[in-house]
Amino acid sequence: MLLLVTGGVFLLLHLTPGDPIDAMMAESGDATARESLRRELGLDRPIAVQYVVWMGRLLRGDLGRSIRNGEPVIENVSRRIRPSLELALLAMTIAILVAFPVALVSAVRHNTAVDRLGTSFALLGICLPNFLLALLLIFVFGVTLRWLPISGYADPLDEGWSGVRSLVLPAVTLGLALAAVIMRTLRSSLLEALGEDYVRTARAKGLSEGLVIRSHVLRNALIPVVTVVGLQLGTLIGGAVITEYVFALPGVGRLVVDAVFARDYPLVQGVILLIALAFIVSNLLVDVLYGWIDPRIRIR
Protein backbone atom coordinates (compact mmCIF):
# COMPACT_ATOMS: atom_id res chain seq x y z
CA MET A 1 0.00 0.00 0.00
CA LEU A 2 2.64 2.48 1.08
CA LEU A 3 4.76 1.45 -1.90
CA LEU A 4 1.92 2.32 -4.24
CA VAL A 5 1.42 5.62 -2.50
CA THR A 6 5.09 6.58 -2.64
CA GLY A 7 5.46 5.46 -6.25
CA GLY A 8 2.38 7.43 -7.15
CA VAL A 9 3.58 10.57 -5.43
CA PHE A 10 6.96 10.32 -7.11
CA LEU A 11 5.65 9.72 -10.64
CA LEU A 12 3.03 12.42 -10.28
CA LEU A 13 5.49 15.17 -9.64
CA HIS A 14 7.93 14.07 -12.28
CA LEU A 15 5.35 14.13 -14.99
CA THR A 16 4.79 17.75 -14.19
CA PRO A 17 5.54 20.03 -17.06
CA GLY A 18 7.65 22.97 -15.99
CA ASP A 19 11.17 22.94 -14.72
CA PRO A 20 12.06 23.55 -11.09
CA ILE A 21 15.35 25.04 -12.24
CA ASP A 22 13.35 27.76 -13.95
CA ALA A 23 11.51 28.46 -10.74
CA MET A 24 14.76 28.71 -8.82
CA MET A 25 16.78 30.85 -11.14
CA ALA A 26 14.05 32.99 -12.64
CA GLU A 27 14.91 34.10 -16.15
CA SER A 28 18.49 34.92 -15.29
CA GLY A 29 21.20 32.31 -14.98
CA ASP A 30 23.29 31.22 -17.91
CA ALA A 31 23.20 27.71 -19.33
CA THR A 32 26.27 26.39 -17.50
CA ALA A 33 25.05 27.54 -14.12
CA ARG A 34 21.74 25.83 -14.78
CA GLU A 35 23.45 22.60 -15.77
CA SER A 36 25.64 22.50 -12.70
CA LEU A 37 22.68 23.15 -10.46
CA ARG A 38 20.77 20.40 -12.22
CA ARG A 39 23.64 17.97 -11.61
CA GLU A 40 23.95 19.02 -7.99
CA LEU A 41 20.27 18.26 -7.37
CA GLY A 42 20.48 14.97 -9.26
CA LEU A 43 17.80 16.08 -11.70
CA ASP A 44 19.92 15.08 -14.71
CA ARG A 45 19.74 11.37 -13.92
CA PRO A 46 17.11 8.97 -15.29
CA ILE A 47 13.81 8.97 -13.47
CA ALA A 48 14.18 5.37 -12.28
CA VAL A 49 17.51 6.18 -10.65
CA GLN A 50 16.03 9.26 -9.01
CA TYR A 51 13.22 7.12 -7.64
CA VAL A 52 15.52 4.48 -6.16
CA VAL A 53 17.68 7.17 -4.58
CA TRP A 54 14.59 8.87 -3.19
CA MET A 55 13.09 5.65 -1.80
CA GLY A 56 16.41 4.71 -0.22
CA ARG A 57 16.53 8.01 1.63
CA LEU A 58 12.87 7.76 2.49
CA LEU A 59 13.42 4.48 4.31
CA ARG A 60 16.05 6.20 6.42
CA GLY A 61 13.54 8.90 7.27
CA ASP A 62 15.15 11.46 4.97
CA LEU A 63 12.57 13.19 2.81
CA GLY A 64 15.10 15.31 0.97
CA ARG A 65 15.52 19.03 0.91
CA SER A 66 13.29 21.75 -0.39
CA ILE A 67 14.63 23.05 -3.68
CA ARG A 68 13.68 26.57 -2.78
CA ASN A 69 15.09 27.17 0.65
CA GLY A 70 17.51 24.25 0.81
CA GLU A 71 16.29 23.08 4.21
CA PRO A 72 15.24 19.49 4.87
CA VAL A 73 11.59 18.76 4.04
CA ILE A 74 11.01 17.43 7.54
CA GLU A 75 12.08 20.74 9.03
CA ASN A 76 9.91 22.69 6.61
CA VAL A 77 6.93 20.62 7.67
CA SER A 78 7.59 20.48 11.39
CA ARG A 79 7.79 24.26 11.50
CA ARG A 80 4.28 24.37 10.02
CA ILE A 81 2.62 21.67 12.08
CA ARG A 82 1.77 23.72 15.14
CA PRO A 83 -0.59 26.21 13.50
CA SER A 84 -2.34 23.37 11.67
CA LEU A 85 -2.83 21.31 14.81
CA GLU A 86 -4.08 24.30 16.76
CA LEU A 87 -6.50 25.10 13.97
CA ALA A 88 -7.76 21.52 13.78
CA LEU A 89 -8.21 21.24 17.53
CA LEU A 90 -10.08 24.53 17.82
CA ALA A 91 -12.26 23.73 14.82
CA MET A 92 -13.14 20.32 16.23
CA THR A 93 -14.03 21.89 19.58
CA ILE A 94 -16.26 24.47 17.92
CA ALA A 95 -17.90 21.80 15.76
CA ILE A 96 -18.74 19.64 18.77
CA LEU A 97 -19.91 22.56 20.88
CA VAL A 98 -22.25 23.68 18.11
CA ALA A 99 -23.40 20.36 16.70
CA PHE A 100 -24.28 18.43 19.85
CA PRO A 101 -26.71 20.89 21.43
CA VAL A 102 -28.34 21.70 18.09
CA ALA A 103 -28.72 18.05 17.18
CA LEU A 104 -30.11 17.17 20.61
CA VAL A 105 -32.66 19.95 20.55
CA SER A 106 -33.59 19.13 16.95
CA ALA A 107 -34.09 15.46 17.73
CA VAL A 108 -35.96 15.87 21.00
CA ARG A 109 -38.22 18.59 19.63
CA HIS A 110 -38.35 17.13 16.20
CA ASN A 111 -40.75 18.43 13.57
CA THR A 112 -40.97 21.77 15.33
CA ALA A 113 -39.77 25.15 14.16
CA VAL A 114 -36.57 24.72 16.18
CA ASP A 115 -35.88 21.47 14.37
CA ARG A 116 -36.42 23.04 10.97
CA LEU A 117 -34.10 25.89 11.87
CA GLY A 118 -31.45 23.37 12.86
CA THR A 119 -31.79 21.33 9.68
CA SER A 120 -31.66 24.44 7.51
CA PHE A 121 -28.49 25.45 9.27
CA ALA A 122 -27.00 22.07 8.43
CA LEU A 123 -27.99 22.32 4.77
CA LEU A 124 -26.42 25.77 4.63
CA GLY A 125 -23.22 24.53 6.19
CA ILE A 126 -22.98 21.70 3.70
CA CYS A 127 -23.63 23.68 0.53
CA LEU A 128 -21.63 26.76 1.42
CA PRO A 129 -18.09 26.25 0.20
CA ASN A 130 -15.35 26.78 2.71
CA PHE A 131 -13.73 29.73 1.02
CA LEU A 132 -17.03 31.53 0.65
CA LEU A 133 -17.85 31.09 4.33
CA ALA A 134 -14.36 32.33 5.17
CA LEU A 135 -14.82 35.46 3.07
CA LEU A 136 -18.27 36.02 4.53
CA LEU A 137 -16.83 35.89 8.05
CA ILE A 138 -13.97 38.17 7.06
CA PHE A 139 -16.45 40.60 5.57
CA VAL A 140 -18.65 40.71 8.64
CA PHE A 141 -16.21 40.42 11.54
CA GLY A 142 -12.99 41.66 10.00
CA VAL A 143 -13.89 44.35 7.52
CA THR A 144 -17.24 45.68 8.70
CA LEU A 145 -17.19 45.25 12.48
CA ARG A 146 -13.38 45.17 12.76
CA TRP A 147 -13.53 42.83 15.74
CA LEU A 148 -11.03 40.27 14.61
CA PRO A 149 -7.88 40.14 12.50
CA ILE A 150 -8.52 38.83 8.99
CA SER A 151 -5.20 37.19 8.30
CA GLY A 152 -1.88 36.32 9.80
CA TYR A 153 -1.03 34.14 12.73
CA ALA A 154 0.26 34.47 16.25
CA ASP A 155 0.87 31.39 18.35
CA PRO A 156 -1.66 31.22 21.20
CA LEU A 157 0.87 29.30 23.28
CA ASP A 158 3.43 32.08 23.00
CA GLU A 159 1.37 35.19 22.61
CA GLY A 160 -1.81 34.29 24.41
CA TRP A 161 -4.82 36.38 23.60
CA SER A 162 -3.69 37.84 20.26
CA GLY A 163 -2.87 34.30 19.16
CA VAL A 164 -6.35 33.08 20.02
CA ARG A 165 -7.83 36.05 18.20
CA SER A 166 -5.86 35.23 15.06
CA LEU A 167 -7.30 31.72 15.05
CA VAL A 168 -10.95 32.51 15.77
CA LEU A 169 -12.17 33.14 12.23
CA PRO A 170 -10.25 30.24 10.62
CA ALA A 171 -11.43 27.85 13.32
CA VAL A 172 -15.04 28.97 12.98
CA THR A 173 -14.83 28.54 9.19
CA LEU A 174 -13.56 25.02 9.45
CA GLY A 175 -15.63 24.18 12.53
CA LEU A 176 -19.02 25.20 11.10
CA ALA A 177 -18.61 23.02 8.02
CA LEU A 178 -17.83 20.07 10.24
CA ALA A 179 -20.58 20.99 12.68
CA ALA A 180 -23.13 20.79 9.86
CA VAL A 181 -22.13 17.23 9.01
CA ILE A 182 -22.00 16.08 12.63
CA MET A 183 -25.33 17.71 13.37
CA ARG A 184 -27.11 16.04 10.48
CA THR A 185 -25.83 12.59 11.24
CA LEU A 186 -26.29 12.89 14.98
CA ARG A 187 -29.83 14.18 14.59
CA SER A 188 -30.97 11.29 12.43
CA SER A 189 -29.23 8.68 14.57
CA LEU A 190 -30.71 10.25 17.72
CA LEU A 191 -34.14 10.07 16.17
CA GLU A 192 -33.59 6.44 15.42
CA ALA A 193 -32.30 5.66 18.91
CA LEU A 194 -35.26 7.49 20.48
CA GLY A 195 -37.60 5.03 18.78
CA GLU A 196 -35.86 1.93 20.13
CA ASP A 197 -37.39 -0.45 22.64
CA TYR A 198 -34.65 0.03 25.21
CA VAL A 199 -35.54 3.70 25.41
CA ARG A 200 -39.14 2.82 26.18
CA THR A 201 -37.89 0.34 28.78
CA ALA A 202 -35.65 2.96 30.37
CA ARG A 203 -38.52 5.41 30.55
CA ALA A 204 -40.86 2.75 31.87
CA LYS A 205 -38.54 1.92 34.72
CA GLY A 206 -38.74 5.56 35.76
CA LEU A 207 -35.44 7.03 34.66
CA SER A 208 -35.43 10.79 34.27
CA GLU A 209 -35.58 12.03 30.70
CA GLY A 210 -32.10 13.57 31.00
CA LEU A 211 -30.61 10.29 32.11
CA VAL A 212 -32.38 8.39 29.34
CA ILE A 213 -30.96 10.73 26.75
CA ARG A 214 -27.49 10.77 28.20
CA SER A 215 -26.84 7.15 28.91
CA HIS A 216 -29.12 5.35 26.48
CA VAL A 217 -29.83 7.52 23.49
CA LEU A 218 -26.68 9.56 23.05
CA ARG A 219 -24.28 6.70 23.49
CA ASN A 220 -26.03 4.56 20.92
CA ALA A 221 -26.29 7.45 18.50
CA LEU A 222 -22.57 8.13 18.50
CA ILE A 223 -21.42 5.34 16.19
CA PRO A 224 -22.73 6.80 12.92
CA VAL A 225 -21.26 10.14 13.94
CA VAL A 226 -17.82 8.62 14.33
CA THR A 227 -18.23 6.87 10.98
CA VAL A 228 -19.16 10.03 9.19
CA VAL A 229 -16.46 12.11 10.86
CA GLY A 230 -13.99 9.39 9.89
CA LEU A 231 -15.17 9.57 6.28
CA GLN A 232 -14.90 13.32 6.39
CA LEU A 233 -11.30 13.42 7.61
CA GLY A 234 -9.95 13.83 4.10
CA THR A 235 -12.45 16.58 3.42
CA LEU A 236 -11.43 18.22 6.64
CA ILE A 237 -7.79 18.23 5.59
CA GLY A 238 -8.82 19.74 2.25
CA GLY A 239 -10.87 22.34 4.09
CA ALA A 240 -7.89 23.15 6.25
CA VAL A 241 -5.79 23.71 3.12
CA ILE A 242 -8.29 26.25 1.84
CA THR A 243 -8.81 27.88 5.22
CA GLU A 244 -5.09 28.29 5.79
CA TYR A 245 -4.78 29.73 2.31
CA VAL A 246 -7.51 32.32 2.83
CA PHE A 247 -6.36 33.40 6.27
CA ALA A 248 -2.64 33.27 5.45
CA LEU A 249 -1.98 30.85 8.31
CA PRO A 250 1.51 29.38 8.03
CA GLY A 251 0.31 25.78 8.36
CA VAL A 252 0.94 22.57 6.46
CA GLY A 253 -1.95 23.20 4.06
CA ARG A 254 -0.56 26.55 3.03
CA LEU A 255 2.80 24.83 2.56
CA VAL A 256 1.27 22.35 0.09
CA VAL A 257 -0.30 25.09 -2.02
CA ASP A 258 2.88 27.17 -2.06
CA ALA A 259 5.04 24.16 -2.88
CA VAL A 260 2.75 23.06 -5.72
CA PHE A 261 2.85 26.46 -7.33
CA ALA A 262 6.61 26.82 -6.84
CA ARG A 263 7.16 23.36 -8.39
CA ASP A 264 9.29 22.44 -5.42
CA TYR A 265 9.26 18.67 -6.17
CA PRO A 266 10.93 17.32 -3.06
CA LEU A 267 8.82 19.50 -0.81
CA VAL A 268 5.54 18.55 -2.51
CA GLN A 269 6.46 14.88 -2.46
CA GLY A 270 7.43 15.03 1.17
CA VAL A 271 4.41 16.96 2.36
CA ILE A 272 1.87 14.98 0.37
CA LEU A 273 3.41 11.78 1.62
CA LEU A 274 3.27 12.95 5.22
CA ILE A 275 -0.33 14.10 4.79
CA ALA A 276 -1.30 10.73 3.27
CA LEU A 277 0.43 9.02 6.17
CA ALA A 278 -1.38 11.17 8.73
CA PHE A 279 -4.62 10.45 6.89
CA ILE A 280 -4.07 6.67 7.01
CA VAL A 281 -3.10 6.80 10.70
CA SER A 282 -6.12 8.88 11.67
CA ASN A 283 -8.40 6.47 9.82
CA LEU A 284 -6.92 3.73 11.96
CA LEU A 285 -7.60 5.79 15.07
CA VAL A 286 -11.22 6.11 14.03
CA ASP A 287 -11.43 2.32 13.90
CA VAL A 288 -9.98 2.10 17.40
CA LEU A 289 -12.50 4.67 18.57
CA TYR A 290 -15.36 2.41 17.43
CA GLY A 291 -14.29 -0.29 19.82
CA TRP A 292 -14.06 2.22 22.61
CA ILE A 293 -17.56 3.59 22.07
CA ASP A 294 -19.18 0.27 21.34
CA PRO A 295 -17.50 -2.71 23.01
CA ARG A 296 -19.45 -5.02 20.71
CA ILE A 297 -17.29 -3.87 17.82
CA ARG A 298 -13.80 -5.11 18.47
CA ILE A 299 -11.26 -5.70 15.79
CA ARG A 300 -11.23 -9.41 15.16
Binding site: M1, P129, F131, V143, L178, E192, L231, V260, F261
Partner: protein, 302 residues
Amino acid sequence: MAGSIPGSGFAEPALAVAAEPPLTDRRWDALRRAARARLAPFGAAVLLTAVVVALAAPLLAPYDPLAQDLGNILARPGRAHWLGTDNVGRDVLSRVIWGTRVSLVAGFVSVAIAATAGGVLGMLAGYAGGRADGVVMRLMDAVLSFPPLVLALALGAVLGAGLTGVLLALGVVYTPTFARLMRGQVLTVKTREYVDAARALGASGLWIARRHVLPNAATPIVVQASLSVAFAILAEASLSFLGLGVQPPAASWGSMINAGRGYLQQAPWIVFGPGAALFVTVVGLNFVGDAIRDGLDPRLTR
Protein backbone atom coordinates in the same frame (compact mmCIF):
# COMPACT_ATOMS: atom_id res chain seq x y z
CA MET B 1 -29.44 14.79 1.07
CA ALA B 2 -27.18 12.01 2.17
CA GLY B 3 -24.15 13.12 0.19
CA SER B 4 -23.18 15.37 3.01
CA ILE B 5 -19.96 17.16 2.34
CA PRO B 6 -18.85 20.41 3.85
CA GLY B 7 -16.68 22.98 2.26
CA SER B 8 -14.56 22.10 -0.65
CA GLY B 9 -16.75 19.46 -2.26
CA PHE B 10 -14.35 16.62 -1.89
CA ALA B 11 -15.66 13.53 -0.26
CA GLU B 12 -17.25 10.24 -0.85
CA PRO B 13 -20.96 10.68 -1.10
CA ALA B 14 -21.48 6.98 -1.77
CA LEU B 15 -20.20 5.88 1.59
CA ALA B 16 -22.06 8.65 3.31
CA VAL B 17 -25.24 7.31 1.74
CA ALA B 18 -24.54 3.93 3.23
CA ALA B 19 -23.71 5.44 6.60
CA GLU B 20 -26.99 7.28 6.97
CA PRO B 21 -29.15 5.20 9.23
CA PRO B 22 -32.62 4.44 8.00
CA LEU B 23 -35.20 6.64 9.61
CA THR B 24 -37.73 4.59 11.44
CA ASP B 25 -40.19 7.33 12.01
CA ARG B 26 -42.77 7.02 9.29
CA ARG B 27 -44.33 10.39 9.84
CA TRP B 28 -41.00 12.11 9.55
CA ASP B 29 -40.32 10.20 6.37
CA ALA B 30 -43.55 11.32 4.82
CA LEU B 31 -42.78 14.87 5.81
CA ARG B 32 -39.37 14.65 4.29
CA ARG B 33 -40.77 13.35 1.04
CA ALA B 34 -43.28 16.14 0.96
CA ALA B 35 -40.55 18.68 1.60
CA ARG B 36 -38.52 17.18 -1.19
CA ALA B 37 -41.44 17.24 -3.54
CA ARG B 38 -41.54 20.96 -2.92
CA LEU B 39 -37.79 21.38 -3.23
CA ALA B 40 -37.25 19.28 -6.34
CA PRO B 41 -39.00 21.76 -8.67
CA PHE B 42 -36.87 24.51 -7.19
CA GLY B 43 -33.77 22.45 -7.90
CA ALA B 44 -34.95 21.68 -11.41
CA ALA B 45 -35.62 25.37 -12.02
CA VAL B 46 -32.13 26.26 -10.84
CA LEU B 47 -30.58 23.59 -13.04
CA LEU B 48 -32.63 24.65 -16.06
CA THR B 49 -31.75 28.31 -15.52
CA ALA B 50 -28.08 27.47 -15.19
CA VAL B 51 -28.12 25.42 -18.40
CA VAL B 52 -29.93 28.15 -20.32
CA VAL B 53 -27.59 30.82 -18.96
CA ALA B 54 -24.56 28.73 -19.87
CA LEU B 55 -25.80 28.07 -23.40
CA ALA B 56 -26.98 31.60 -24.07
CA ALA B 57 -24.11 33.35 -22.30
CA PRO B 58 -23.14 35.45 -25.35
CA LEU B 59 -26.73 36.65 -25.73
CA LEU B 60 -27.47 37.25 -22.07
CA ALA B 61 -24.28 38.94 -20.92
CA PRO B 62 -24.79 42.71 -21.10
CA TYR B 63 -21.06 43.34 -21.55
CA ASP B 64 -17.97 41.59 -22.85
CA PRO B 65 -16.75 39.63 -19.79
CA LEU B 66 -13.16 40.51 -20.60
CA ALA B 67 -13.58 44.16 -21.54
CA GLN B 68 -11.81 46.38 -19.06
CA ASP B 69 -13.05 49.85 -18.31
CA LEU B 70 -10.38 51.49 -16.23
CA GLY B 71 -12.38 54.68 -15.86
CA ASN B 72 -15.11 52.75 -14.09
CA ILE B 73 -13.46 50.38 -11.62
CA LEU B 74 -15.10 49.00 -8.47
CA ALA B 75 -18.41 50.60 -9.48
CA ARG B 76 -21.30 49.89 -7.13
CA PRO B 77 -24.12 47.70 -8.39
CA GLY B 78 -26.53 49.97 -10.23
CA ARG B 79 -28.53 50.35 -13.35
CA ALA B 80 -25.54 50.21 -15.70
CA HIS B 81 -23.87 47.29 -13.95
CA TRP B 82 -26.35 45.18 -12.00
CA LEU B 83 -23.64 43.47 -10.00
CA GLY B 84 -21.10 46.28 -10.17
CA THR B 85 -17.66 46.15 -11.74
CA ASP B 86 -14.41 44.60 -10.58
CA ASN B 87 -10.95 46.01 -9.98
CA VAL B 88 -10.27 46.57 -13.69
CA GLY B 89 -13.77 47.72 -14.54
CA ARG B 90 -15.13 44.44 -15.92
CA ASP B 91 -18.86 43.84 -15.51
CA VAL B 92 -19.34 41.32 -12.70
CA LEU B 93 -22.71 40.10 -13.94
CA SER B 94 -21.32 39.29 -17.39
CA ARG B 95 -18.46 37.40 -15.82
CA VAL B 96 -20.82 35.45 -13.57
CA ILE B 97 -22.89 34.53 -16.63
CA TRP B 98 -19.86 33.30 -18.56
CA GLY B 99 -18.57 31.55 -15.45
CA THR B 100 -21.75 29.45 -15.42
CA ARG B 101 -20.39 27.65 -18.48
CA VAL B 102 -17.18 26.73 -16.73
CA SER B 103 -18.95 25.49 -13.63
CA LEU B 104 -21.48 23.34 -15.46
CA VAL B 105 -18.87 21.89 -17.79
CA ALA B 106 -16.67 21.13 -14.80
CA GLY B 107 -19.49 19.49 -12.89
CA PHE B 108 -20.85 17.33 -15.67
CA VAL B 109 -17.67 16.45 -17.55
CA SER B 110 -15.61 15.48 -14.51
CA VAL B 111 -18.41 13.30 -13.16
CA ALA B 112 -18.85 11.75 -16.63
CA ILE B 113 -15.13 10.95 -16.71
CA ALA B 114 -15.25 9.46 -13.21
CA ALA B 115 -18.45 7.47 -13.84
CA THR B 116 -17.11 6.04 -17.10
CA ALA B 117 -13.66 5.20 -15.80
CA GLY B 118 -14.98 3.95 -12.47
CA GLY B 119 -17.77 2.02 -14.18
CA VAL B 120 -15.39 0.24 -16.53
CA LEU B 121 -12.85 -0.50 -13.80
CA GLY B 122 -15.53 -1.68 -11.39
CA MET B 123 -17.07 -3.88 -14.06
CA LEU B 124 -13.67 -5.35 -14.84
CA ALA B 125 -12.90 -5.96 -11.17
CA GLY B 126 -16.29 -7.39 -10.32
CA TYR B 127 -16.86 -9.45 -13.43
CA ALA B 128 -13.37 -10.78 -14.07
CA GLY B 129 -12.49 -11.17 -10.39
CA GLY B 130 -9.18 -12.77 -9.46
CA ARG B 131 -6.03 -10.86 -10.20
CA ALA B 132 -7.74 -8.09 -12.18
CA ASP B 133 -9.95 -7.47 -9.17
CA GLY B 134 -6.96 -7.28 -6.84
CA VAL B 135 -4.98 -4.90 -9.02
CA VAL B 136 -7.87 -2.57 -9.76
CA MET B 137 -9.09 -2.35 -6.20
CA ARG B 138 -5.59 -1.80 -4.74
CA LEU B 139 -5.17 1.02 -7.23
CA MET B 140 -8.45 2.54 -6.10
CA ASP B 141 -7.37 2.19 -2.47
CA ALA B 142 -4.17 4.05 -3.31
CA VAL B 143 -6.15 6.93 -4.78
CA LEU B 144 -8.37 6.96 -1.70
CA SER B 145 -5.44 7.15 0.66
CA PHE B 146 -4.88 10.78 -0.27
CA PRO B 147 -7.08 13.57 0.99
CA PRO B 148 -9.07 14.39 -2.18
CA LEU B 149 -8.35 18.10 -2.39
CA VAL B 150 -4.63 17.56 -1.88
CA LEU B 151 -4.62 14.89 -4.59
CA ALA B 152 -6.57 17.07 -7.00
CA LEU B 153 -4.22 19.95 -6.29
CA ALA B 154 -1.16 17.87 -7.09
CA LEU B 155 -2.82 16.28 -10.15
CA GLY B 156 -4.02 19.64 -11.36
CA ALA B 157 -0.49 20.96 -11.12
CA VAL B 158 0.85 17.96 -13.04
CA LEU B 159 -1.76 18.23 -15.76
CA GLY B 160 -1.16 21.93 -16.08
CA ALA B 161 -3.27 24.84 -15.01
CA GLY B 162 -6.35 25.06 -17.17
CA LEU B 163 -9.84 23.63 -17.29
CA THR B 164 -8.76 20.34 -18.90
CA GLY B 165 -6.30 19.67 -16.11
CA VAL B 166 -8.91 20.26 -13.45
CA LEU B 167 -11.49 18.10 -15.25
CA LEU B 168 -9.08 15.18 -15.45
CA ALA B 169 -7.89 15.70 -11.87
CA LEU B 170 -11.44 15.66 -10.51
CA GLY B 171 -12.23 12.70 -12.76
CA VAL B 172 -9.42 10.73 -11.16
CA VAL B 173 -10.35 11.80 -7.64
CA TYR B 174 -13.98 10.69 -8.02
CA THR B 175 -13.22 7.47 -9.92
CA PRO B 176 -12.76 5.11 -6.93
CA THR B 177 -16.23 5.92 -5.59
CA PHE B 178 -17.79 4.75 -8.84
CA ALA B 179 -15.45 1.79 -9.22
CA ARG B 180 -16.33 0.48 -5.76
CA LEU B 181 -20.02 1.00 -6.30
CA MET B 182 -19.95 -0.74 -9.68
CA ARG B 183 -17.90 -3.65 -8.39
CA GLY B 184 -20.29 -4.22 -5.53
CA GLN B 185 -23.26 -4.13 -7.88
CA VAL B 186 -21.67 -6.46 -10.40
CA LEU B 187 -20.78 -8.96 -7.70
CA THR B 188 -24.46 -9.17 -6.72
CA VAL B 189 -25.89 -9.18 -10.21
CA LYS B 190 -23.37 -11.78 -11.38
CA THR B 191 -24.91 -14.44 -9.18
CA ARG B 192 -28.45 -13.90 -10.48
CA GLU B 193 -30.19 -16.70 -12.29
CA TYR B 194 -30.67 -14.81 -15.52
CA VAL B 195 -26.90 -14.54 -15.82
CA ASP B 196 -26.59 -18.30 -15.38
CA ALA B 197 -29.35 -18.73 -17.91
CA ALA B 198 -27.58 -16.54 -20.45
CA ARG B 199 -24.39 -18.46 -19.92
CA ALA B 200 -26.20 -21.75 -20.34
CA LEU B 201 -27.53 -20.46 -23.63
CA GLY B 202 -23.95 -19.98 -24.74
CA ALA B 203 -23.64 -16.20 -24.52
CA SER B 204 -20.09 -14.84 -24.43
CA GLY B 205 -18.72 -13.13 -21.32
CA LEU B 206 -18.62 -9.73 -22.97
CA TRP B 207 -22.20 -10.08 -24.20
CA ILE B 208 -23.43 -11.02 -20.76
CA ALA B 209 -21.54 -8.12 -19.19
CA ARG B 210 -23.05 -5.67 -21.64
CA ARG B 211 -26.58 -6.95 -22.02
CA HIS B 212 -27.34 -8.41 -18.63
CA VAL B 213 -24.99 -7.15 -15.96
CA LEU B 214 -24.58 -3.52 -16.97
CA PRO B 215 -28.25 -2.51 -17.20
CA ASN B 216 -28.99 -4.18 -13.90
CA ALA B 217 -26.03 -2.65 -12.13
CA ALA B 218 -26.34 0.87 -13.51
CA THR B 219 -28.98 2.44 -11.25
CA PRO B 220 -26.75 3.26 -8.26
CA ILE B 221 -24.17 4.66 -10.65
CA VAL B 222 -26.72 7.07 -12.08
CA VAL B 223 -27.84 8.06 -8.58
CA GLN B 224 -24.28 8.57 -7.44
CA ALA B 225 -23.47 10.60 -10.56
CA SER B 226 -26.40 12.92 -10.03
CA LEU B 227 -25.39 13.50 -6.41
CA SER B 228 -21.75 14.06 -7.40
CA VAL B 229 -22.29 16.86 -9.89
CA ALA B 230 -22.94 19.46 -7.20
CA PHE B 231 -19.82 18.46 -5.35
CA ALA B 232 -17.76 18.48 -8.52
CA ILE B 233 -18.88 22.05 -9.14
CA LEU B 234 -17.83 22.99 -5.62
CA ALA B 235 -14.52 21.23 -6.14
CA GLU B 236 -13.80 23.05 -9.38
CA ALA B 237 -14.57 26.35 -7.69
CA SER B 238 -12.20 25.44 -4.84
CA LEU B 239 -9.38 24.60 -7.24
CA SER B 240 -10.00 27.74 -9.29
CA PHE B 241 -9.99 29.66 -6.06
CA LEU B 242 -6.53 28.29 -5.33
CA GLY B 243 -5.35 29.31 -8.79
CA LEU B 244 -5.72 26.13 -10.84
CA GLY B 245 -8.43 25.77 -13.42
CA VAL B 246 -9.47 28.34 -15.95
CA GLN B 247 -6.72 30.91 -16.21
CA PRO B 248 -7.23 34.67 -16.09
CA PRO B 249 -8.59 36.71 -17.69
CA ALA B 250 -11.28 34.09 -18.45
CA ALA B 251 -14.04 34.03 -15.86
CA SER B 252 -14.83 31.21 -13.45
CA TRP B 253 -16.68 31.64 -10.18
CA GLY B 254 -13.83 30.35 -8.06
CA SER B 255 -11.17 32.54 -9.63
CA MET B 256 -13.45 35.59 -9.53
CA ILE B 257 -13.96 35.08 -5.82
CA ASN B 258 -10.23 34.74 -5.30
CA ALA B 259 -9.53 37.87 -7.31
CA GLY B 260 -12.12 39.83 -5.32
CA ARG B 261 -10.64 38.84 -1.98
CA GLY B 262 -8.48 41.92 -1.77
CA TYR B 263 -11.42 44.25 -2.39
CA LEU B 264 -13.82 42.96 0.26
CA GLN B 265 -13.92 46.34 1.91
CA GLN B 266 -14.40 48.60 -1.12
CA ALA B 267 -16.26 46.19 -3.40
CA PRO B 268 -17.75 43.13 -1.70
CA TRP B 269 -19.94 42.49 -4.76
CA ILE B 270 -16.93 41.11 -6.66
CA VAL B 271 -16.92 38.20 -4.21
CA PHE B 272 -20.59 37.86 -3.38
CA GLY B 273 -21.93 37.97 -6.96
CA PRO B 274 -20.22 34.78 -8.07
CA GLY B 275 -20.48 33.44 -4.51
CA ALA B 276 -24.27 33.62 -4.58
CA ALA B 277 -24.37 32.02 -8.04
CA LEU B 278 -22.21 29.17 -6.80
CA PHE B 279 -24.23 28.64 -3.65
CA VAL B 280 -27.63 28.65 -5.36
CA THR B 281 -26.43 26.31 -8.08
CA VAL B 282 -25.01 23.82 -5.61
CA VAL B 283 -28.12 23.85 -3.42
CA GLY B 284 -30.35 23.44 -6.48
CA LEU B 285 -28.32 20.56 -7.88
CA ASN B 286 -28.42 18.87 -4.49
CA PHE B 287 -32.21 18.91 -4.56
CA VAL B 288 -32.22 17.50 -8.08
CA GLY B 289 -29.79 14.77 -7.05
CA ASP B 290 -32.00 13.87 -4.08
CA ALA B 291 -35.07 13.73 -6.28
CA ILE B 292 -33.33 11.45 -8.75
CA ARG B 293 -32.20 9.20 -5.93
CA ASP B 294 -35.69 9.01 -4.49
CA GLY B 295 -37.09 8.24 -7.91
CA LEU B 296 -34.59 5.59 -8.92
CA ASP B 297 -33.64 3.92 -5.70
CA PRO B 298 -36.59 1.89 -4.47
CA ARG B 299 -34.78 0.91 -1.29
CA LEU B 300 -34.80 4.47 -0.04
CA THR B 301 -38.39 5.30 -0.89
CA ARG B 302 -40.20 2.94 1.34
